[in-house]
């Protein structure tokens, strides 16, 4: 009573037919690293533009001259470039790369396209840390800490990184209990509200000028980092990016889900820890120095997948570093309002310009599921 023929599939016939057709098709991973070059050139261009454009416009050859160690025609130009615009451009590049990569880490880790440092409350955690420091400095704590020789900036980084790490640990503890990433996102969101409430309480009891300082910090800015502070930011970001680069292989395995990744020989506990560490370091440091910049972390990985047309982290991690830097530089350029003395809040600019761009990219892809890994 055979329902149909149970003979084995005629393997020979089909395989010869397909291998004949295949002589034209190459067996490869479908990677196009050459596209990274486009990003490199874009990044260099945007970098020079940020140095050139602002309340005064400086000619390109003057900028290159100054960068090569010379003097500009006018001393003011040399000052503007070296004291203000160069640290700002470097900060923007570092911050953009850091936010992009931490967003990518979170999206792959939680296998959710909506994940990003901000969505999971990591930036909120950092905000709480910073709020605690900014709003309490000047009172008892400030005196005490100054006495210990801790400078305010290092303290901010520590507070923000601590806040970010604690938040991520809480999210992870929850992640171990719930399987659904959607539940996790809701938990992250709720945690964000919780933290905002705490910050509100702090604001309620704080001195007015401290409140203004905190609000200015929440606007976000790449311009507040001095040459003295830059090495701290750069150090934290470079360590975070290095961890992310070392995680490339693990991230690719995680695309299959944790069970599969483990069956491929991945040490999940160690990987989890490394991802937490890198994300907290990257998002925490940037949030401390530049404020909570919400948009770049979510958008850049998506832009990168669209451009590079891959889910492979061997391209995505370097791609996100470059793309993040590029997007942040462009945002800095727009916030500057060329030719005007006004400086727009960075957060408003990133979302105002970036959101429609991402909408367009995603709608053009028709299906987010396909682009997202």
């Amino acid at each position: 009573m055979s329902q149909f023929d149970f003979k084995p599939v005629p393997q020979q016939n089909t395989s010869t037919a397909s291998s004949a057709a295949l002589s034209a098709t190459r067996l490869d991973l479908g990677l196009r690293p050459a596209l990274l070059l486009v990003l490199v050139f874009g990044l260099m261009g945007a970098f020079l533009l940020v140095l050139a454009i602002g309340s005064v416009t400086i000619p390109l050859e003057q900028i290159i001259g100054v960068l090569l160690g010379g003097e500009a025609e006018r001393t003011a130009w040399t000052n503007i470039i070296l004291k203000f615009r160069l640290p700002k451009a470097l900060t923007a590049m570092l911050a953009g790369a850091a936010l992009g990569v931490s967003g990518l880490l979170m999206q792959t880790f939680f296998r959710n396209p909506l994940a990003g440092p901000f969505v999971l409350g990591i930036s909120s955690g950092a905000s709480l840390g910073v709020a605690l420091v900014v709003l309490s400095v000047g009172t008892v704590g400030g005196v005490l800490l100054a006495g210990l020789g801790l400078t305010g900036d290092l303290l901010l980084v520590l507070a923000a990184a601590l806040g970010a790490s604690l938040t991520l640990l809480i999210v992870l503890a929850a992640a171990r209990r719930v399987d659904s990433s959607m539940t996790l996102l809701i938990l992250g969101l709720m945690f964000g509200y919780l933290v905002s409430a705490l910050v509100s309480l702090l604001l309620f009891f704080a001195v007015p000028e401290r409140i203004q300082a905190y609000i200015n910090w929440t606007f976000g800015s790449f311009g507040g980092v001095t040459w003295d502070q830059l090495p701290i930011l750069a150090g934290a970001v470079l360590i975070g990016l290095s961890i992310a680069l070392l995680l490339i292989k693990s991230l690719n395995a995680l695309l299959l889900g944790e069970d599969y990744a483990r069956s491929l020989g991945l040490n999940i506990q160690l990987t989890r820890l490394a991802i937490i560490l890198a994300t907290a370091l990257l998002a925490g440091a940037v949030t401390a120095f530049c404020g909570p910049i919400g948009f770049i972390g979510l958008a850049v990985p998506h832009l990168c997948r669209s451009l590079l047309h891959t889910s492979d982290h061997r391209l995505l991690v370097p791609g996100t570093i470059l793309m993040g830097g590029l997007v942040a530089l462009i945002a800095a350029l727009i916030a500057e309002v060329p030719g005007q003395a006004v400086l727009l809040p960075l957060n408003a600019v990133t979302a105002l310009i970036g959101a429609p761009v991402v909408m367009l990219v995603i709608l053009r892809q028709r299906n987010l599921k396909r682009t997202f890994a």
Binding site: V9, L27, L264
Partner: protein
């Protein structure tokens, strides 16, 4: 006889809920898996097939006892060492984004590649071999998200093969597939087990298919496992016992399960070949019992003609009618008045 690849010693499987006593699903399991064999794990829903597979694969701790793979405890091996000995194909369907077929299979080289996951020449050759082994070369440059379930499953099997493990464990590899694809996948797995000398252990709900393809079966039911060749298990009645349930009975002759329909009348079918088979199937489906030698039937059906011109003659009591399709025949059997009409029409034709 070759040495067993996988052995369990007094294995207990189950769950350890937080702050509660462990829930044991099965205990005192002493199982053996030999190289080059395709073994089917069968059992009713909720019997614990996935739990057993996950425990054997080291993905879930055992409540008690040991799982030895090539002499080493799978729960003590480091993840990377275990990945070189054992690969899995799970029921979950990961969202693979823009990954192409080749990249998916290449992930199977994870336990062998360097920190960046670069493929050496040897790795690339193994990946190519694995893709060829499942006959999926034409899928290699397609985005996995665009493939059908069957094509995807082939690539997941190729990925497991690329891991070059001695044992492949698959949890319901045929679950989402249509029947021809199920047969294809099962035969592919059997072929791979026999030709590569790997052990393949899979759980499935396709009893019929498992009976026909597996070298051995593990029947997991009510906390016990019975093992043996499929035919032995059928003859001993173990197969029947594992799946018995109300309203279902196992037909040992055909090796399939049928719905019990009490009170179906007895019908005898005369004829041969394919039309005979499908006539019997239609009658069984409609709730009639097929008469074998001996018992006098309530009705007799003769199948005449060749493929393009089949005629069914129905004899019941002293009535006779003829029908041009099984649909008309079933209609006539259910409704004697209609039979009269059919007879009438038949005479006119």
């Amino acid at each position: 006889m070759s040495k067993p690849l996988l052995v369990t010693h007094d294995l207990s499987i189950g769950y350890r809920p937080v702050r509660k006593t462990p829930i044991t699903i099965a205990q005192a399991l002493n199982l053996e898996l030999r190289p080059g064999a395709l073994v089917g794990l069968l059992g009713p829903n909720g019997a614990g097939k996935s739990t057993l597979l996950r425990t054997l694969a080291g993905m879930q701790p055992a409540l008690d006892g040991q799982v030895l793979l090539g002499g080493e405890d799978v729960h003590r091996l480091k993840a990377r060492a275990l990945a070189r000995r054992l690969s899995v194909v799970l029921t979950e369907r990961p969202n693979l984004g823009l990954m192409n077929g080749y990249a998916l299979v290449a992930l199977g080289r994870h336990p062998y590649t360097d920190w960046a996951g670069r493929l050496s020449k040897h790795d690339a050759a193994v990946v190519r071999w694995a893709i060829e082994a499942v006959d999926a070369l034409d899928l290699a440059d397609h985005p996995v998200m665009e493939l059908s379930d069957g094509q995807r499953q082939k690539l997941m099997i190729a990925r497991a093969l690329a891991q070059e493990s001695d044992l492949i464990i698959l949890d319901e590899p045929t679950a989402f597939l249509d029947l021809p694809r199920r047969v294809e996948i099962m035969h592919l797995l059997r072929h791979l087990a026999h030709s590569t000398g790997r052990s393949i252990l899979l759980s499935t709900h396709d009893l019929d298919l498992a009976l026909r393809t597996a070298d051995a079966l593990w029947l997991l039911a009510s906390g016990q496992i019975l093992t043996g060749t499929p035919e032995d298990l059928v003859l001993s009645g173990a197969f029947e016992a594992a799946f018995q349930g109300e309203g279902v009975h196992f037909d040992r002759q055909s090796g399939t399960f049928h719905l019990n329909r009490a009170g179906g009348s007895l019908v005898k079918v005369n004829g041969s070949g394919v039309p005979h088979i499908w006539t019997r199937r239609a009658l069984e489906r409609a709730g009639f019992e097929i008469a074998h030698n001996g018992t006098p039937p309530d009705a007799t059906i003769d199948v005449h003609g060749s493929a393009d011109q089949l005629v069914w003659h129905l004899h019941r009591d002293d009535q006779h009618s003829q029908h041009a399709s099984l649909e008309a025949l079933l209609h006539a059997l259910h409704d004697p008045d209609a039979a009269g009409n059919a007879q009438h029409n038949g005479h006119h034709d």
